[in-house]
Subunit: 244 residues, 2 copies
DNA sequence: TCAAAAGTGTTGCCATTACACCCATGA
DNA sequence: TCATGGGTGTAATGGCAACACTTTTGA
């Protein structure tokens, strides 16, 4: 099936709600960096976007978001949270979409709805970096990779603002909802946990006090030690206690 | 102009974005009660709803929300915050709208779009109770009044859940954004401020420590004393410092 | 035996809590 | 002068930050 056919099938039928889109800020933690999964668009210029999509007419917003997330990461049951609505008039994706469809070779004007103005619902998702195999959207994407939050590439429309707002919300929610644990594997050392906190909050934390704070919360279960072969005391592995 | 004409004008033309609505939880503080402004629907049964509306095709989401808020309160420049998206499939307003339009006498089927499924954007707003003159929507509403958060009437669809989520978000944001001051007049006594906090958080606070906490924040300007005629020390009036 | 990293005891500080007293007000 | 409520000094508490010491590990 060629791209034009794929495009027709995607937006051709009356399957989606018009003028509403979902944009996902997919956070991963790797190499002591907070990363975001960003597809690169098929354009002559270098431009990236947030992974997003539309809501089916018979699909809940949550299900749509889960579907979009799964289509990009291969993972189901992802932790996600809605953090904003982006509905300014000047957020215009028309030229962008037009350039891409032209490039693909779409000539029909039947699908004007994708050129229309969109209100975007912002969600952030926290995933375990190592479990993700980034997948790209055949029609729109040239590639799909992780980018450090500190070194974001050029982003389409207002997607940089959406990422910033998502990050701010994540920071506020970090202590409040213990959301961060979704970025780590099932087991982790205290050092890994601390690095994750430090990276998200973008500030150093004291090792001794951080350890105590986490242990005092009574949410961690201590497992066996992790012998790395390094010439120092082996750290314990921890896991989140199963919630009562 | 009769109701049918008004209805035609409202939803007849292609002015609004389809399948997206805005629902507003308008909070006011009065009589030591946190209140919500709720219109009562024109139905045989007693049913209330959140004040809401649609987004114009050439109107930003924020402008739409401001317009809706002004149409209900008469106030411009209202403090507002988006707190959630309600997009489940089972949130069905079709029967409700149909009953109301039947009651009005609308027979045309041209405006099917208002019977469609809607994704609702939840906003809460904080207003100064005494400045509001509740206005009702001629077409849908029988009346429009304030109801204590503790004694909410029967609400349509999922509007009770929307109110709860809005209240939870307000509680979290209360300290974080100093949002609560928008519920009070320009000047207020420490007692009024405390009552407002207590009512929103639904728990008692110590008078002495609350006063100190507020003063230590260095956001209040002390004005003249307020002589009420009561046989006790006159409290100072305060106002929010103009932000630097 | 040593360096590096992990784990924890202890101390001091600061912010919040609790108790107290004093002050202002009009009957 | 009394009851009532407002304003603030001060002591007690508890959580957190800082420091230090011990333990563990492989070279």
């Amino acid at each position: 099936m060629d791209l034009i056919q794929e495009f027709e099938q995607w937006v051709g039928e009356d399957t989606y709600i018009k003028q509403v889109s979902i944009d996902c800020v997919i956070f991963g933690f790797h190499d002591n960096n907070l990363k975001v999964l960003l597809p690169k668009l098929k354009l002559d210029e270098d431009l990236w976007s947030l992974p997003g999509g539309y809501i089916g007419k018979d699909e809940s917003v949550l299900d749509a978001t889960r579907r979009i997330l799964e289509s990009r990461t291969g993972l189901a049951d992802i932790y996600l949270e809605q953090f904003g609505v982006f509905g300014e008039l000047n957020r215009n994706s028309k030229d962008l979409v037009k350039t891409i469809t032209n490039k693909i070779g779409v000539t029909t004007e039947e699908h004007l709805w994708v050129f229309d103005r969109f209100i975007s619902l912002g969600f952030y998702a926290l995933v375990e970096y190592s479990k993700v195999t980034p997948r790209l959207n055949n029609i729109l994407d040239e590639s799909c990779d992780w980018y450090s939050i500190k070194e974001l590439p050029a982003l389409a429309i207002d997607h940089d603002q959406i990422i910033q707002k998502g990050l701010e919300t994540l920071r506020i929610m970090l202590d409040h909802k213990l959301a961060g644990f979704n970025l780590l594997g099932e087991t982790f050392t205290m050092k890994e946990l601390q690095k994750m906190y430090e990276t998200i909050l973008d500030k150093p934390l004291r090792r001794d006090n951080f350890q105590r704070k986490m242990l005092d919360m009574d949410i961690l279960e201590r497992l066996e030690k992790q012998y790395t072969g390094a010439a120092n005391k082996a750290p314990y592995l921890y896991k989140l206690k199963t919630i009562k």
